[in-house]
């Protein structure tokens, strides 16, 4: 593999490089090899590739077994099937014993459901993994951030969940843009009227909203919260305090993901008005990715409206 395109290939590229350096890295697939564009991994490292078929609970339990022997398995499949179908295996056999399993969840969000529709759109996964103690959760904003996130979390202690997309998510950052695990990633600092905490593949829309608002006299600070758990509480509190109001933006239910993480932090550290942009706790339908996200309240205009609303709510 010479280069990667999209979040799924980015994971595979990173994993190939990790596997070249360290024999502990493995890939566990639930008939997801092609989805991960990881055929090369299977060909080059056949003794480190385990195929369980369409059996995600088995994949999770197998990964737990491998990790318990000191190996570092990446179990990669649709995020909904890994977090929902294999939830109990994740919780009791991976998280409870704090094993070094890396859960790569693809097709995160509404974007992810374009080809396969409602059963393959996932907007609960962050809520699930965030409620289980001890799982590190990262939500990189685009393909090169995914690549860096995999590398940055490769030898972290305990389970790690990496949220990926369909492979069609927009490229937002330069390949040189660093990924500093555990810290808020400052994207734009136009001013302090409000903060936008955005994550994942809607980052392009958040950036567009911030830029347009700036031209319209509302100056925001935009942060990329690529590490959802553990949340950079100090950084978050500082931004909340500085701006006095916040909008969260994510391709996930407004319950359980970034929005909840930020309102939890605000409640404990710095109560300020917050508006959430995300799926408003309804089941979406199938459709073309950008149109779907617009339809379900995550358009650039929706973000801008939320910012104006939250600025008006400041005392």
């Amino acid at each position: 593999m010479k280069d990667y395109k999209g979040s799924r290939e980015a994971v595979t590229m990173a994993l190939l490089e990790l596997a070249e350096q360290d024999p502990r890295f493995m890939l566990v697939s639930a008939d997801s090899l092609k989805a991960m564009r990881a055929t090369e991994f299977a060909e080059r490292f056949p003794d480190r590739y385990i195929e369980v078929g369409i059996a995600e609970q088995n994949a999770m339990a197998v990964s737990a077994g491998l990790a318990s022997c000191g190996l570092i398995p990446y179990v990669a499949s649709y995020c909904g099937f890994l977090t929902m179908r294999a939830c109990e295996q994740l919780r009791t056999f991976v998280a409870y014993p704090h094993l070094n399993v890396r859960i790569v969840g693809i097709n995160g969000g509404l974007y992810g459901g374009e080809r396969e529709g409602v059963t393959h759109q996932f907007f609960e996964d962050l809520g699930i993994v965030s409620s289980i103690p001890g799982i590190t959760v990262v939500t990189p904003a685009d393909e090169s951030q995914v690549y860096k996130a995999v590398k940055a979390t490769a030898t972290l202690d305990g389970p790690v969940y990496i949220r990926c997309g369909s492979g069609r998510e927009p490229v937002v950052f330069d390949r040189n843009e660093p990924f500093v695990f555990g810290k808020l990633h400052m994207v734009k600092e136009y001013g302090r009227d409000a903060a936008i905490f955005a994550s994942g593949f809607l980052m392009k829309r958040a950036i567009a909203a911030a830029e347009q608002l700036n031209g319209e006299g509302v100056h925001v600070t935009l942060c990329d919260v690529h590490t959802l758990k553990p949340l950079d509480e100090e950084g978050t509190a500082a931004i909340l305090s500085r701006c006095g109001a916040a909008v969260t933006v994510e391709d996930h239910n407004i319950i359980g993901g970034l929005g909840s993480g930020i309102t939890d932090a605000a409640a404990s550290l710095c109560p300020v008005p917050v508006e959430k942009i995300g799926l408003r706790d309804v089941f979406p339908s199938s459709g073309e990715a950008e149109a779907l996200v617009d339809y379900y309240g995550m358009s650039v205009e929706d973000i801008k409206t939320a910012v104006r609303k939250v600025v008006a709510r400041k005392q």
């Binding site: 998280a95 409870y96 809520g127 965030s130 409620s131 103690p133 001890g134 407004i254 319950i255 359980g256 929005g259 909840s260 930020i262 309102t263 939890d264 605000a266 409640a267 404990s268 109560p271 300020v272 008005p273 917050v274 508006e275 959430k276």
Partner: protein, 105 residues
């Protein structure tokens, strides 16, 4: 807490979803400090639902009492006491401390 001169309103939130938004917002308006208590993680349950509602309507100092995002253990409940409740700080005295901490903010 009554003995210490702290008057609290206690509300039983037996329906988490849909949350009784009116009751929570009214409580926040009239008291200015909110403590939630649940036999659940502080993530994903009543505390989070209330934090979210307050942030979206009336930001208020808040303290969430519950399991602090850790795995539990097995222990006995005896006449001497409930070892689990004590360990995870879910006793009434822990609740009183939470209220006091919240009021300080």
């Amino acid at each position: 807490m009554e003995a210490d001169g702290i008057d609290v309103r206690v509300i039983n939130m037996s329906t988490i979803k849909p949350l009784d938004e009116y009751a929570v917002i009214k409580a926040a308006e009239e008291t200015g400090a909110i403590v939630t208590a649940e036999n659940h993680s502080i993530i994903g349950g009543l505390g989070e639902a209330v934090a979210s509602l307050l942030a979206e309507n009336i930001p208020t100092p808040m303290f969430r009492v519950g399991i602090e995002d850790e795995f539990s253990q097995t222990a006995a409940i005896t006449e001497e006491g409930d070892a689990l409740k004590a360990h995870f700080r879910l006793d009434s005295k822990d609740l009183a401390l939470a209220v006091k901490e919240c009021l300080e903010r």
